[in-house]
């Protein structure tokens, strides 16, 4: 340590130290000279004698310096100094190279940060990598929730977990004296969840096993947000009675605001209070499960153990559990391959970075070829090949380090932009986009890889060439730098290929976006306001009660002058609807692969009128549809296209099953109508939707939608008032104009559209720059040859052709590789392309033409410079 400090001290005042040593040695020599003179030698002899005694001063100096600074380090320092000088001399080149790499690094950094914050970082708890989601998979591999009975079996049998906890979503309406009732996102949750996740309450306590027992006095834990907003942060909240969903409960704890498990929750009730846990049927699958792995247990080990348990249970309960498997995954999804838009965007950013590397590599290569003679002389004078290569590696490392710093700034800016442009949405609570050590580590690795990739080509070129070849490569003979040109052509072909892949991705996103705009414009979202109502179990326990409430409410609203039509549904358009497995009557069950799944929307009367959508075929629901003997369904166009091959489905029978529900006999539904496709999912291909009358399956959390004659927001007070008249304890929430909903769900699509287009745009620009620079470089290098050709009477056209010809070959090769890559790569996008084939010919043809056009311009422009060569001047230079 001390030695290191002394070295540093020496290095910092090296000039002084060198001067000290030089003076010291001069004194030494002087003293020796004087002594020899005293002994009687003549002054010239004395000096010679002294010098002989002294030995080589230069050697002494070098060896002394080597003691302080290891020779290898001195060399590197020299290389760095040389590289800095080179890079500052050619500012234009340095700026272009740094920006090229920085763009790629910044793009990759931005996407990584966003991706990491959503899928990789995990929950904000201790050791998030040990927290897993546990599910069952059915015979067809579809994920299922667990029934309370199965959860108990799994929990008692397994030894792979430090703990397992179950939870189920709840809508909690909190009410007490003096404040209006309020709806809060809440969950029923196992008492073990809090200790399992390692989160302590801010106030009071978390649930104990005693709270989580059937018949225990009901209790609730509130989130810090509710505690602050509703109770002003009053610490006396603990032990206080409040009403949750019409039941008196006691507040026992307050959780800190950073804890909102499992999604965005602000209140928690013991799992034992959930109505669904009373259902002990093994196929009433209502619970989600989270676990913390026991020490030393891996995810595959845990899955294998649970699988064995599931197999045993399948033998015990063949009717309900046969064919069930266990699935154990990182809680936040983790990285599940390149089939989600985010990982594709990451891949696209990687491509952009590769294009940047190829570009910088070809620029460095051009420069290295220009320095060939210089390097050859150095090699001839005894510099080792490693020494020469190191110089180049240092150069590219320096470039990529500076680019890494700029990329860091770009990443920061990109992530800020993402955060501010994000719509206010109910993101899971663990999404956080901090600029942390993980991001820095990622950027460091990427920058290091960039240095290697960009430096490797020039280095390989030089290390492969012999001294003589290098010597010649700079001479003015006609066959100059053929090797370097071959490398450059290869790099540019790669650039073009990658650019085509990116352009294809961008083109498909554009097509998808246009399709989405077309499809979404079928719904007239202007003047529609939506709001949710929650009908508590205590007073609306039967389907009839719920249907009656919804019908009365709609009647009330229709009486409001500003409201033109009213409807209800289980979920609003453009938003994830529940899924149902589909069986078409008279067709054999598809066994083996996953069966067809459809979105399931229950609707009140006037649903399509309110949305401004017209029926395509058949009729709407009548007042008897949905009653026993009259079970009916309306399907969308996508459904017809997928399951009826475009034939009319009117009159056909279907059955829908909830794979998570107990398999009671599901009624046969008769298809009575067909409507245009309204999406119920975003960022994925259009989904088949089956609409059934609300009364056929009345949900406890209906959404009310009204079409107004004026500003939809102005209708909110009227809706609230009507609700108060009907039942003053009910609460409206999620009050939003439908337009805003549509804008919000389109966000993901807009983000990917932007990413892909920006990346493709940069890729095209970089390729053009690469082609331009390479052609220009060749023209400059071959000026002499051009002069000779022109002196001998070559036509200008022939001269330009000389240079374009080569680039056309490169373009053809790169283009072909790129199209092949695009056909393979865009298949990954299948999941989020809408009504667009991944190999859409129109897209592929148009992007290829675009690239060819840009490439030809970028080649011909510099090639025309050759025409400006004056043969007389060039030949005189000889």
């Amino acid at each position: 340590m001390r030695r290191a400090l002394r070295r540093l001290w020496y290095a910092l005042r090296q000039r002084q130290s060198d001067a000290d040593l030089a003076e010291e040695m001069a004194v030494h020599r002087e003293m020796a000279e004087r002594e020899l003179a005293q002994r009687g030698a003549a002054p010239p002899d004395a000096r010679l004698g002294a010098e002989r005694l002294f030995g080589s001063a230069a050697l002494a100096r070098d060896r002394s310096r080597d003691v302080w600074i290891p020779p290898a380090l001195q060399d590197i320092t020299r290389d760095v100094r040389f590289a800095v000088r080179l890079l500052t001399k050619d500012r234009g080149f340095t700026f272009a190279a740094v920006m090229t790499l920085a763009l790629g690094i910044g793009a990759a950094g931005t996407i990584f940060t966003i991706f990491d914050g959503m899928f990789l970082k995990g929950l904000p708890v201790d050791r998030p990598d040990r927290i897993v989601a546990v599910r069952a998979l059915d015979r067809q591999g579809r994920p299922l929730q667990l029934s309370p009975a199965a959860f108990d079996d799994w929990r008692t049998a397994t030894e792979s977990f430090r703990g397992l906890a179950a939870y189920a979503g709840a809508t909690a309406i909190i009410a007490d004296e003096g404040r209006p009732p309020e709806r809060v996102a809440a969950s029923y949750i196992s008492a073990t969840a809090f200790t399992l996740l390692g989160e302590r309450p801010l106030l009071g306590r978390v649930f104990t096993a005693d709270d989580d027992r059937r018949g225990a006095p009901p209790v609730v834990i509130l989130g810090e947000g509710v505690w602050q907003d509703r109770y002003g942060g009053d610490p006396r909240i603990i032990g206080r009675p409040v009403t949750v969903n019409d039941e008196p409960v006691t507040v026992i704890g307050v959780m800190p605001a950073r804890f909102r498990f499992p999604m965005i929750d602000k209140a928690w009730l013991p799992l034992a209070m959930a109505p669904q846990v009373r259902d002990r049927r093994r196929d009433a699958r209502t619970l989600a499960v989270v676990g913390r792995l026991a020490d030393g247990i891996t995810i595959p080990q845990a899955r294998a153990e649970l699988d064995a348990i599931a197999t045993r249970l399948a033998r015990e309960y063949p009717d309900t559990d046969a064919g069930l498997h266990a699935a154990v995954e990182p809680y936040t999804g983790g990285f599940s391959g390149f089939d989600n838009p985010w990982s594709d965007a990451l891949l696209a950013a990687g491509f952009l970075l590769l294009i940047g590397c190829a570009n910088v590599a070809s620029l460095l290569l051009a420069r290295a070829a220009g320095r060939g003679r210089d390097l050859a002389i150095r090699t001839a004078l005894g510099a080792t090949r490693w020494r020469v290569l190191r110089q180049l590696v240092v150069e590219s490392t320096l470039l990529s380090t500076v680019a890494g710093c700029v990329g860091l700034a770009l990443t920061w800016a990109g992530v800020r932009l993402w955060i501010v442009s994000m719509p206010v949405a109910n993101w899971p609570y663990w999404f956080r986009w901090d600029f942390d050590a993980r991001v820095l580590a990622f950027l460091t690795i990427v920058s290091a890889a960039t240095a290697v990739l960009a430096g490797v080509a020039p280095a390989a070129h030089l290390s492969g060439a012999g001294t003589a070849a290098l010597m010649k490569s700079d001479s003015r003979s006609g066959t100059t730098g053929r090797r370097a040109r071959r490398w450059t052509s290869g790099l540019i072909a790669c650039e073009l290929a990658l650019t085509i892949v990116l352009l294809a991705g961008a083109g498909l996103m554009v097509r998808t976006t246009i399709k989405l705009l077309q499809i979404d414009s079928l719904v007239d979202t202007s003047h529609v306001l939506m709001a949710n109502v929650h009908l508590p179990e205590a007073r609306y326990s039967t389907p009839e009660q719920r249907t009656r409430f919804v019908e009365t409410f709609a009647e009330h609203l229709d009486g409001v002058p500003a409201i033109r039509s009213t409807t209800v549904a289980n979920v609003w358009p453009f938003y994830n609807a529940p899924l149902r497995a589909l069986a078409v009557t008279g067709r054999p069950d598809v066994s083996g692969g996953p069966g067809p799944v459809v979105s399931y929307v229950t609707i009140g009367p006037e649903y399509f009128e309110t949305l401004g959508v017209h029926l395509l075929l058949g009729r709407g629901f009548s007042s008897t549809d949905g009653t026993t003997g009259h079970f009916a369904a309306i399907v969308n166009q996508r459904f017809v296209q997928m399951f009826f091959g475009g034939q009319s489905p009117i009159g056909a029978g279907i059955r829908l099953t909830d794979i998570n529900a107990a398999q009671a006999d599901t009624p046969r539904l008769t298809i009575v109508g067909v409507v245009p496709t309204i999406r119920q999912h975003y960022a994925q291909d259009l989904d088949p939707v089956v609409y059934v009358p609300y009364r056929q399956d009345p949900t406890a959390v209906p959404v009310v939608m009204v079409r107004t004659s004026a500003d939809p927001n102005a209708a909110a007070p009227a809706i609230r008032e009507s609700l108060r008249d009907l039942d003053s304890s009910l609460v409206l929430f999620n009050i939003m104009p439908l337009e805003q909903v549509l804008a919000g769900t389109g966000f993901a699509n807009r983000v990917f559209l932007t990413f892909f287009n920006v990346f493709a745009g940069f890729a095209l620009l970089l390729s053009a720059i690469g082609l331009y620079a390479a052609t220009r470089h060749t023209v400059t290098q071959r000026r002499h040859e051009i002069g000779v050709r022109m002196a001998l009477g070559a036509e200008p056209r022939q001269v330009v052709w000389l240079f374009t010809r080569r680039m056309l070959v490169v373009l053809a090769l790169g283009g072909m590789a790129g199209l092949a890559g695009a056909l393979a790569g865009t298949r990954l996008m299948r999941g989020f392309l809408v009504e667009t084939s991944p190999s859409d010919p129109a897209t592929l043809v148009s992007i290829t033409l675009l690239l060819a056009l840009v490439a030809i311009v970028a080649t011909v422009m510099p090639a025309r410079r050759a025409l400006r060569v004056d043969p007389a001047v060039v030949l005189r230079c000889e």
Partner: protein, 109 residues
């Protein structure tokens, strides 16, 4: 006179430390001292003396300072530090052990 006597590796450091044990000296003084005491057997070339002095400085066994010399010339004087003194006795013990060992080998029949 001929070439300076080849030294066993590492012994130059020991000799310099020993020379400095008598008091501060400049580079020329050290060379002269070694030459005189060894009766002209050990003639230390400057190309080994100065690197050796740098090594001792780096290890913190000696310190250097500019001072006026006996004939009023500015010279760089080296002084043994406490660590240097400890190193000297340690190296000396090690050297003695080595010599004894070599003697044993050479005397063996």
């Amino acid at each position: 006179m001929g070439e300076a006597q080849e030294l066993l590796p590492g012994t130059l450091d020991l000799l310099i430390l020993k020379a400095l044990a008598r008091g501060a000296m400049h580079g020329y003084g050290i060379a002269q001292y070694l030459k005189d005491v060894s009766e002209d057997v050990l003639q230390v070339g400057e190309s080994s003396l100065y690197p050796a002095l740098q090594r001792l400085l780096l290890n913190g066994w000696v310190t250097a300072a500019w001072r006026a010399s006996e004939n009023n010339r500015r010279a760089r004087y080296y002084t043994l530090t406490a660590a240097g003194r400890k190193q000297l006795s340690a190296e000396r013990k090690e050297f003695d052990r080595l010599i004894v060992a070599m003697h044993k080998v050479l005397k063996a029949t």
